[in-house]
């Protein structure tokens, strides 16, 4: 039942958003000219392409995030059964966190977490 309710909720939500988008297309006035359709850059004509390379720092954070996010996926099922499993589960997660902490320490010492 909960899956059907979720789908129902998705449909109602999508309907609301779609309605607002379509409604604003019909009621809003439009008038364009070439100057207006240029990208906004405080009045100066834009130079070169927008879709260029950007700072590699963002990319590094994304890679570290990916690793840690996968780890977080492992932690959640462990957290659910932690109370029943007791000591074994705890020791295992401490080992897990030790490895995870080493990874974080490595990234830290390598300067990947430093923003420049």
């Amino acid at each position: 039942m909960s899956a059907e309710s979720l789908i129902l909720f998705f449909i109602v939500g999508a309907f609301l958003v779609g309605f607002a988008i379509v409604f604003s297309i019909f009621v809003a006035p439009t008038s364009t000219n070439p100057q207006k359709a240029e990208p906004y850059e405080c009045g100066i004509p834009t130079e070169g392409l927008t879709w260029l390379q950007f700072n590699v720092g963002y990319y590094l954070f994304a890679i570290i995030f990916l690793i840690f996010d996968v780890e977080a996926v492992f932690i959640f099922p462990w957290a659910v059964v932690m109370k029943e499993m007791g000591m074994i589960a705890f020791v295992e997660i401490v080992i897990f966190f030790f490895v995870l902490g080493l990874g974080l320490l490595y990234a830290w010492k390598k300067g990947a977490l430093k923003w420049e």
Binding site: S5, L8, F10, V12, V27, T30, T50, W51, L113, E116
Partner: protein, 340 residues
Amino acid sequence: MTTQIIYKTLLATIILLLSLIVAMYSTLIERKMAGWFQDRHGPNRTGPWGLLQPLADGIKLFFKEEFMPASADKFLYILGPSLTMFIALLISAAIPWGPDLVINGAVYPLQVADVNIGILYIFAVLSIGVYGIMIGGWASNNKYALLGAVRASSQMISYELAMSLSIVTIVMMTGSLSMSEIVAQQQGFNWNIFYQPLGFLIFLICAFAETNRAPFDLPECETELVGGYHTEYSSMKLGFYLFAEYINMFISGAVMATLFLGGYHFPGLDKLGLSPNVFALVSFMVLFTKITFFGFIFMWVRWTLPRFRYDQLMKLGWKSLIPIAILNVVITGVVILLNL
């Protein structure tokens, strides 16, 4: 079965409309509060105390010019704000808004979908929220918008980690990922915040970052990036981005109230002997009061603290919050083991 489907559709519509109305009126309350903080009146011309201001703003947004830059990616340009709005609305499906209603002997839960993995659902939907901003900023073909979008995604993924790690402790204590079960275990005054003050603090800080609110509003940092990721947007599409921020604020307040402040529970309320439907209504009001409290904190912080620098933001997220959150998980594990 049919009545259940009709009831669920009705409930979904009511919850969605409620979040929209709350978001609309949060804009007014925010401007009023900004006025008080800065020793001025705030909006007071549209209706008594400016009460019609959100309506006027909404109508104005609809009737503003629909505008799309010539070099933008047309499909993604429309998809960006729609996705942001849609995702912001979805999270409320997993939140238990109150105890069950009883009408003619049939039980109607005040929760759209009691998914047994409620927390995972909320995090999954939250993660998709990044895409709306990223797609919108990229599709605009504007350098400021792209910078804002890249900043937003980098910030949101960084704080998502600490956020999920701070929730792990709640899952450990409850032994369940279901939102309704987490609320049920906090009956009376048994609220999680008393057992997890550190987890609550981390979650609160991350909620500010995830909703892109000050002091973490770098994606739309006006002094550097013009308007950030929504520089090129106008009309209702801009309105979607702005509304989504307020809906996110409302919903994250609801999530925090549910996970840490006992949801719709209030000590002594269940001993008053109210009839089930009145009890459900009063409980919903209790939850709503808690959400309002969080809304007040969101606004208070926004009009008090200056914005972080980007390197400070990254340092706080990666070098403070994540190690503290991991430590919190270990400490909670030790305490649970000792109590066994």
